[in-house]
């Protein structure tokens, strides 16, 4: 934690810069007297799923929102595809922890909302929305309202909405935290398939070490407030294997254990 240049980051930096779609440069963030983030430098590779992991309140959400352009950084830069950005842009889409669905709109309208804001004509919008509704397994629910869906289904709507604007980078803030354990596990497996299929860049925040190790290509561990990068870990797990094989893979278990040993000191 006291080590700002993380152990495994070195063998990574060389390749990362080559195809980094998102670059985080010296990001600091203060909320009044609270220093939430200090000097964050990170690169996120195209087509990979990177997870931010860390104790509660370490600034994971803050960092994700800064990247999304929803919260301004106190200092530092965010570059997307090499260009400095200061606000939200079409190449990034956010998936919210509380789903952020409009309760007055149907699933179809919710999924097509990003397109609606862009002025895409209705027919086109509905075609695209329906496609992604099918993709996340919600066909037949187009005319339902969010309150008629379970937590897991609502989050799928949120993900379909993010897909439908065809952004390159998807930012997901604890997307499964409001979903119950067993559905969550199912969802993780589905997510891996989506990652495989859609070939997008994912930035993922979670509290669950197993989840992080199970789904991520790379895990960024943040230290407690003020959040700094304390370690970067690449699980290097063979994702082509069946879920139960992955979950009993030695490498997988080692990484989980390693991360847990790093984090348990911050648990109460």
């Amino acid at each position: 934690m006291a080590n700002p240049m993380p152990a495994r980051a070195a063998d990574q930096s060389g390749t990362a810069t080559s195809d980094a779609i998102v670059e985080v440069r010296d990001i600091c963030k203060r909320y009044g007297d609270i220093e939430a983030l200090r000097g964050i430098n990170l690169e996120f590779e195209r087509g990979k799923l990177t997870t931010l992991l860390g104790p509660s309140g370490c600034g994971k959400t803050t960092l994700l929102k800064i990247i999304a352009g929803l919260v301004p950084a106190t200092s530092g830069q965010i570059r997307i595809n090499g260009k400095v950005v200061t606000g939200p842009g079409p190449e990034r889409a956010f998936v919210f922890q509380d789903f952020a669905l409009m309760p007055w709109a149907t699933v179809l309208r919710n999924v097509g909302f990003g397109l609606e804001l862009k002025g895409v004509p209705q027919a086109e919008r509905h075609r695209i929305a329906k496609h992604y509704i099918g993709e996340v397994g919600l066909s037949g629910f187009e005319e339902k309202y969010p309150h008629e869906l379970s937590g897991g289904m609502r989050q799928r709507v949120g993900i379909a909405r993010a897909f439908s604007v065809n952004a390159d980078v998807l930012l997901l803030d604890e997307p499964f935290s409001a979903v119950d354990e067993q559905n969550r596990r199912k969802f993780q497996e589905d997510l891996l398939q989506l990652v495989e299929k859609e070939r997008k860049t994912f930035l993922f925040v979670t509290h669950s070490i197993e989840e992080a190790v199970y789904v991520s290509d790379r895990i960024v561990l943040l230290s407690p407030r003020p959040g700094r990068v304390s370690q970067i870990i690449e699980p290097n797990i063979d994702r082509s294997a069946a879920p139960d094989v992955i979950r009993r893979d030695k490498g997988y278990l080692d990484v989980v254990e390693e991360i847990w040993q790093g984090l348990r000191q911050y648990a109460e």
Binding site: F96, M102, P103, L117, H147
Partner: protein, 280 residues
């Protein structure tokens, strides 16, 4: 309206009670299922108490329930009640409409802009907490005694309520919905029209309902304090000639009308504005 329909339901279901169970059980069963049963019970209790108190009598100026009912029917039939309501509703409707447009506008502005909030919120907070009734007579000095003055009295009471509720509605819009809109590069205008206003609508509407309730208070104050017209005139006139049953009938009718109006609005609100509450 639905109140009037209830007695039918009672007799219909009560009569159709299965033969084996006692009347008490049938009633108890019915009470569990129908809220309207209790409406009838509590109305009947009050009316009986009123009738008895009137018969005692507790005072020459206290008519019985039946006398009052007769007076109400008489006024309804001889064509004094409807025109009176037409007159009372004029300042009420205009006042509430003005308050709604102005109040929702101001409230949204206050919700969206810190400067507007700083400038206006305290004023309306004070006005809402203050006993505006004291100021109603002042209106006559400036706006005289006509429709304008009464409309103004309605606005004085309804506007602060509507403004503050609209303001609250906008301030309590789900922030992650706003973030969601921003993350899809929605413009400020889209944010307001597609997220903030729809999300605030239920609270806006609730505020409107409170505003209408305040408006009813305002119009009654105006008709009792500025000049007696409409229902206020029925109350004062019948009091001045000692037609107390008519006076009570007018008072009871305005309370009933306001209650029914508000209940109808609430019904509309749940029925049409809340998809998430609709199918319950």
């Amino acid at each position: 309206m639905h109140m009037a329909a209830t007695p039918h339901k009672v007799s219909a279901t009560g009569g159709a009670g299965s033969g084996s169970s006692t009347i008490v059980e049938t009633l108890a069963e019915f009470a569990r299922r129908r809220k309207s049963f209790w409406v009838v019970v509590s109305l009947a209790t009050l009316f009986t108490a009123w009738e008895i108190a009137g018969r005692v009598p507790i005072s020459f100026a206290f008519p019985t329930f039946l006398e009052t009912l007769a007076a109400l029917i008489e006024m309804a039939l001889d064509g004094t009640l409807l025109p009176a309501y037409a007159i009372t509703f004029q300042p009420l409707v205009i006042g509430v409409a003005v308050s709604a447009v102005l109040g929702i506008g101001l409230g949204i502005a206050m919700g969206l802009s810190d400067k507007a909030e700083w400038l206006l919120a305290p004023v309306f907070i004070v006005l809402q907490a203050a006993p505006m009734a004291a100021l109603v007579p002042l209106v006559t000095f400036v706006y005289g005694i006509g429709l304008v003055a009464k409309t103004l009295a309605v606005i004085m009471l309804a506007l602060p309520v509507i403004v503050l509720n609209s303001y609250k509605a906008v301030r309590h819009v789900n922030p992650s919905l706003v973030d969601m809109c921003r993350s899809f590069q929605g413009t400020r205008l889209q944010q307001i029209s597609k997220i903030i206003i729809p999300d605030a609508t239920p609270v806006l509407f609730a505020g409107l309902r409170l505003g209408i309730a305040a408006g009813f208070i305002g119009v009654m104050l105006a008709e009792l304090l500025i000049t007696p017209t409409g229902i206020g005139d029925l109350i004062t006139y019948h009091r001045s000639i000692a037609n107390y049953a008519h006076m009570y009938a007018a008072v009871a009718s305005i309370i009933a009308v306001s209650t029914i109006t508000l209940a109808a609005l609430q019904y509309i609100e749940v029925r049409f504005l809340r998809p998430e509450k609709r199918r319950k």
